[in-house]
């Protein structure tokens, strides 16, 4: 998020900034998944999602992700098309991806930090 608010001077190099954007997109997606789960019984509510692959590949760092309504889901009698199974899968998948990416970013930060500290000692 910091990268998007102050995108003139990123704190990290290319890999760090990409990871940051990845985490950012994952949290946006998780937000939509939670909204879908909360509205699983709301009449007329349509499932919301982002085109994850497209968003990550697009290089525009400060663009807002486009919310889409995925098609091909079964619409219930009340006009709601939330599939709890789909949302549960996405919830778990996003959490795992986030875990993985945050571990990567953490080790990235550790490298930065050790560079700073070693410089001070020497």
């Amino acid at each position: 998020m910091a990268a998007r608010l102050h995108c003139q001077r990123p704190m990290f190099d290319a890999i760090g900034s990409q990871l940051e954007r990845y985490l950012d997109l994952l949290s946006v997606r998780q937000k939509l998944v939670s909204s879908n789960i909360a509205n699983a019984d709301t009449p007329g509510y349509k499932t919301k999602d982002i085109d994850f692959h497209f968003e990550f590949m697009s290089q525009v760092a400060d663009a807002r992700p486009q919310v889409i309504e995925p098609e091909g889901l079964t619409v219930k009698n009340d006009g709601n098309n939330v599939s709890l199974d789909r949302e549960a899968r996405l919830l778990a998948e996003n959490a795992m991806r986030f875990n993985f990416a945050s571990s990567l970013l953490r080790s990235h930060i550790r490298v930065l930090r050790s560079a700073i500290q070693e410089g001070r000692n020497g």
Binding site: M1, R4, L5, L23, L26, S27, V28, Q30, K31, L32, V33, S34, S35, I37, A38, N39, A40, D41, T42, P43, Y45, K48, I50, R64, P65, V67, L84, E87, A88, L91, A92, N94, A95, F98, N99, S102, L105, R106, I109
Partner: protein, 145 residues
């Protein structure tokens, strides 16, 4: 951190499902109630959900910067069943009418049970979402250590 606003989305889902479960249990408890303060037999109640954008005054400006607004849920209204009560022939009953018929609530315990299971499952799904979000927030905080 937009993740914090997601917690309130899941919380709104939990609150809505809990209200619904409360009404369903109330319906089952009153399956045979023939007297109410409004007069007549008990009438089945149900919750109507409506989606609602979640934003606290503090974070509304911040959230505008952070992409799509999270959509929570709320109980828009509680509706009462308007169907005619079920008439049973019980001449000895104190609430029987002139012809010996008693008005009982028109509700089906099996239907209530199925709805209750749906509410419980919805509640569980919201709890799972909340713990996943909590885990993500925790991971983000660990980046600082």
């Amino acid at each position: 951190m937009s993740l914090f606003s997601v917690l309130s989305v899941s919380a709104s889902g939990m609150a809505a499902q809990r209200t619904r479960a409360q009404l369903l249990v109330e319906n089952m408890a009153n399956a045979e109630t023939t007297r109410t303060p409004e007069g007549g037999p008990y009438r089945r109640k149900d919750a109507v959900f409506a989606s609602e954008p979640q934003s606290s005054p503090f974070s509304s400006v911040f959230q505008r910067e952070l992409g799509p607004v999270a959509t929570g849920v709320r109980v828009a209204e509680v509706v009462q069943d308007t169907r005619e009560p079920e008439k049973r022939y019980l001449p000895g009953h104190p609430d029987a009418d002139a012809d010996g018929y008693v008005s009982f609530p028109r509700l089906n315990p099996a239907e209530e049970m199925v709805d209750l299971m749906g509410a419980a499952r919805g509640y569980q799904a919201n709890v799972a979402a909340m713990s996943a979000i909590k885990d993500m927030i925790h991971r983000s905080i660990e980046l600082l250590r």
